[in-house]
C-alpha cells in the first residue's frame, strides 16, 4: 500500500447522499480477478450514456475534475455492499481522498486498506468545499494527514479526526497483515485456550 502523507489536488464535488457501492461500481464489473483496471467503470451509470458515450453532465467528465484526486460528497457515502471493488475503482481512477459527513462502515474500512483516506467533516464544511470547487482548476485542496487538516483553496485550515492506529498505518503505508502476524504467539495462545473451553466448535476437513 502506498503511504499517505499529504495530498494536494483537484477536489470534485458529488453533492449526493447515500452514494451506494452499486453506484460506485455496478455488480457486472465485479467479475474480475484483479484489483486494477476498474477506474473506467467508476460511477458507470452516471458517467456514461446508454450508448457508451460520456455523459458531459457528470462531474468527472468535466475539466478539471477528470484529474480529481479528492471527492466531496454528502451523507452515508459507500453504503450497500462490501465490495472492495468500490475503493479499487476510485483508486484506479486516481481518487486518494473522500470527504463526506459520514461513511458506511465497510466502505470506510476498505478505503484505509487501499490507501484512500476517508475524511469525516460536517455537512456545512462539505458544502463549503463543494462551493470552493466552483473555482475549477484553482480549487486545489490539500489534505495533510500528519497535521490532520484539510486546507481550502483560500488557505483556511479545517481540522479532522482520525483514529491513531489507522493514521499510523496510512502514514507509513504499513501492511496490516504483517503487523498482526507479529502477534502470532498471542493468536496461538488464544487458539489453545479455545480448544480447551469449546472443544465442540466444528472444523471442516478439506
Amino acid at each position: 500500500m502506498d503511504k499517505f502523507t499529504t495530498l494536494t489536488g483537484i477536489a470534485a464535488p458529488l453533492p449526493m447522499q447515500n452514494v451506494d457501492t452499486d453506484k460506485v461500481i455496478p455488480a457486472r464489473f465485479l467479475k474480475t480477478i484483479k484489483r486494477t483496471g476498474l477506474g473506467v467503470h467508476l460511477f458507470d451509470a452516471m458517467r456514461y450514456n446508454n450508448d457508451g458515450s460520456e455523459n458531459p453532465e457528470f462531474v468527472l467528465n468535466q475539466e478539471p475534475f477528470r484529474k480529481a484526486e479528492i471527492l466531496i460528497a454528502h451523507e452515508n457515502f459507500g453504503c450497500g455492499s462490501s465490495r472492495e471493488h468500490a475503493p479499487w475503482a476510485l483508486l484506479d481512477f486516481g481518487i486518494r481522498c473522500i470527504i463526506a459527513p459520514d461513511f458506511a462502515d465497510i466502505f470506510f474500512n476498505n478505503s484505509f486498506k487501499n490507501g484512500i483516506l476517508p475524511v469525516r467533516l460536517p455537512r456545512a464544511v462539505c458544502d463549503q468545499l463543494i462551493e470552493d470547487s466552483k473555482l475549477g482548476g484553482n480549487a486545489r485542496v490539500t489534505v495533510d494527514l500528519e497535521r490532520q487538516v484539510v486546507v481550502r483553496p483560500n488557505g483556511d485550515e479545517i481540522p479532522f479526526e482520525i483514529d491513531p492506529f489507522r493514521k499510523n498505518l496510512m502514514l507509513n503505508g504499513l501492511d496490516d497483515i504483517g503487523q498482526t502476524l507479529q502477534h502470532g504467539t498471542a493468536i496461538d495462545g488464544y487458539e489453545a485456550g479455545k480448544k480447551q473451553s469449546q472443544p465442540w466448535l466444528p472444523t471442516i476437513a478439506a
Partner: protein, 472 residues
C-alpha cells in the same frame, strides 16, 4: 472476566474473541468461521500468493460459488457461458485446491447461497464470530453469532491470521412487540424498521433485535431480519439464542453432537444480554404499525405499506433531499400520489439470502396455489440452496408453483444482483424478495420493489402490487 458489569450479547461475544488489545484500543479479534465466495476472494488469494503466505486455519474456512452460477441449464464452472463469470468461478476452484480450502462443489446438494448454507449445515453457531467478504453476512446474526461483512483486504487478513483488526461497535437495541398482523412476515418487520431508522440509522452500531415479535419468529424469519441489518447501515444484527435456535441447530451436519451439543447449549444459554446492560441507542416498534410493505424508491428505507401512495417530493423541506427523491421517482417511473396497488409489475423474483429458505417458498406456494401468474409477467422462484430445493420438491411445492406458471430454478443468487444470466432489462419493474433496490442492482435500468415472498406471489398472480390480505 469478572462478570460484574451487565453486558449485552454483543459485548459478550466481543470480549470472548479479543486476542489482544493494542495500545490505542484497536483489538485483534479472533474469527471462528470464514465463509468464502468467488466474487470477493480472488484478489485475497492472489495477495497470499504474492506474499508467500498460506491459510492459517483452512479447517475453519469453507468456500462456495454462488453469485455467478446460472439457475438453469448447465451450471458447473467450465459450462458457464459468460467468460468473466466462468473465469471467476474457475479461479475459486483453482484457489481452493491450491490453498487446501474446504469447498462445496456446484452440483453438490449442499451448494447454495453462502448465507443460506452456513446455518443450514450447522456451521453458523451462537456465540461465534463469522465473517465473509459479503455484506449480508449479517444473516448469521439470527443465530446469536457476531457475523459481519468484510472487504477483500480483510478476507486476506483472516486467511493469513484467522483474526481481524477491529474497534468495538456501539450497541443498538431494536425492540419489536405485539402480535404480527395477518399477511405480515419477517420481511415486513425489517422493512418497517429500516423505514423508521433510515439506511444510515445503524451506522457504527451492532443491532440486537429484541421483543416478543422477534422471539415468536422461526429461524427463517429471524434470518430475514438479521440479513437486512446491513441495509440499516449496521455492522451486524443479532438475535439472542433461545430454544428455537437450539432446536434449529440440533442434528445439522456440522453441529456439535450428543454430549458436545449439551455442553454447547449450556454455554449458549449464558450469552443473552444481562438484565440492566446498557445500549447506546434504543428503538421501539409495535407490530400493530406493521403492514405488508413495499419499497417505492431506490434505497430500502423508502418503504410504505402496500395500501399507501407514492410520496410527494414537494413535501420534503430540504432542497437536496427533495432533488434526490425526485430523481428516485424519475428512475422508478412513479408519480406522487400514485397508489402502489395501481403499479403493474413485469418480473417477480422469489429467492436470495433474504428470502430463499423453505419457509419463504412455502409462503409463496400458499398464495400461488390454485392461481395463475398474470399474463405477461415472468415469475422466478429460486431456492437458496440445493437442500432447500430438494425439500421443496419433497413437499410438492415445485409442482404447485409450476402449475401456477412460476419458473422453478436451480439454487443461487440469481436476480438479487446482475452478475448472472438472470437480470432485469432496462425499464422492467420487479417485485423482488431480495434486499436491495439500488439503481441497476437487478440489471441496468431495472426498477426494483422489495417485498415479502407472499407479497411477491400476490403480485405475480394479479400482475400488480396487491395487498396479500385481500387475496384471502
Amino acid at each position: 472476566m469478572s462478570g460484574s458489569a451487565p453486558r449485552t450479547l454483543f459485548d459478550k461475544i466481543w470480549d470472548s474473541h479479543v486476542v489482544e488489545r493494542l495500545p490505542d484500543g484497536t483489538c485483534i479479534l479472533y474469527i471462528d468461521r470464514h465463509l468464502v465466495h468467488e466474487v470477493t476472494s480472488p484478489q485475497a488469494f492472489e495477495g497470499l500468493r504474492l506474499a508467500g503466505r498460506k491459510l492459517r486455519r483452512p479447517d475453519l474456512t469453507i468456500a462456495v460459488a454462488d453469485h455467478n452460477i446460472p439457475t438453469k441449464g448447465p451450471r458447473t464452472a467450465n459450462e458457464i457461458q459468460e467468460e468473466d463469470s466462468r473465469i471467476q468461478v474457475q479461479t475459486l476452484e483453482a484457489n481452493v485446491k491450491a490453498f487446501g480450502v474446504p469447498y462445496i462443489p456446484i452440483l453438490d446438494v449442499r451448494q447454495g447461497i453462502v448465507h443460506i448454507i452456513g446455518p443450514e449445515l450447522g456451521l453458523s453457531l451462537p456465540g461465534t464470530t463469522i465473517v465473509c467478504g459479503d455484506s449480508h453476512t449479517s444473516t448469521h446474526g439470527a443465530l446469536g453469532a457476531l457475523a459481519f461483512g468484510i472487504g477483500t483486504s480483510e478476507v486476506e487478513h483472516v486467511m493469513a491470521t484467522q483474526t481481524l483488526l477491529q474497534s468495538p461497535a456501539k450497541n443498538l437495541r431494536i425492540d419489536v412487540s405485539g402480535t404480527l398482523g395477518l399477511g405480515c412476515s419477517a420481511k415486513d418487520i425489517v422493512l418497517a424498521i429500516i423505514g423508521k431508522i433510515t439506511t444510515a440509522g445503524g451506522t457504527g452500531h451492532v443491532i440486537e433485535f429484541t421483543g416478543d415479535t422477534i422471539r415468536a419468529l422461526d429461524m427463517a424469519g429471524r434470518m430475514t431480519v438479521s440479513n437486512m441489518s446491513i441495509e440499516a447501515g449496521a455492522k451486524a444484527g443479532l438475535i439472542a439464542p433461545d430454544q428455537t435456535t437450539f432446536d434449529y441447530i440440533k442434528g445439522r451436519e456440522y453441529a456439535p453432537k450428543g454430549e458436545d451439543f449439551e455442553r454447547a447449549v449450556a454455554y449458549w444459554k449464558t450469552l443473552p444480554t444481562d438484565a440492566g446492560a446498557r445500549f447506546d441507542t434504543e428503538v421501539f416498534l409495535s407490530s400493530a404499525d406493521i403492514a405488508p410493505m413495499v419499497t417505492w424508491g431506490t434505497t430500502p428505507g423508502q418503504v410504505i405499506p402496500v395500501t399507501g401512495v407514492v410520496p410527494n417530493p414537494m413535501d420534503e423541506p430540504d432542497e437536496g433531499k427533495r432533488a434526490q427523491l425526485q430523481r428516485m421517482l424519475d428512475y422508478m417511473a412513479l408519480k406522487p400520489g400514485q397508489r402502489m396497488t395501481d403499479v403493474p409489475v413485469d418480473v417477480i423474483f422469489i429467492g436470495s439470502c433474504t428470502n430463499g429458505r423453505i419457509e419463504d417458498i412455502r409462503a409463496a406456494a400458499q398464495v400461488a396455489k390454485g392461481r395463475k401468474v398474470a399474463d405477461g409477467v415472468q415469475a422466478l422462484v429460486v431456492p437458496g440452496s440445493g437442500q432447500v430445493k430438494k425439500q421443496a420438491e419433497d413437499e410438492g411445492l415445485d409442482r404447485i408453483l409450476l402449475e401456477a406458471g412460476f419458473e422453478w430454478r436451480d439454487p443461487c443468487c440469481s436476480m438479487c444482483l446482475g452478475m448472472n444470466p438472470d437480470k432485469l432489462t432496462p425499464g422492467q419493474r420487479s417485485a423482488s424478495t431480495s434486499n436491495r433496490n439500488f439503481e441497476g442492482r437487478q440489471g441496468i435500468g431495472g426498477r426494483t420493489h422489495l417485498v415479502s415472498p407472499a407479497m411477491a406471489a400476490a403480485a405475480a398472480v394479479t400482475g400488480k402490487f396487491t395487498d396479500v390480505r385481500q387475496l384471502g
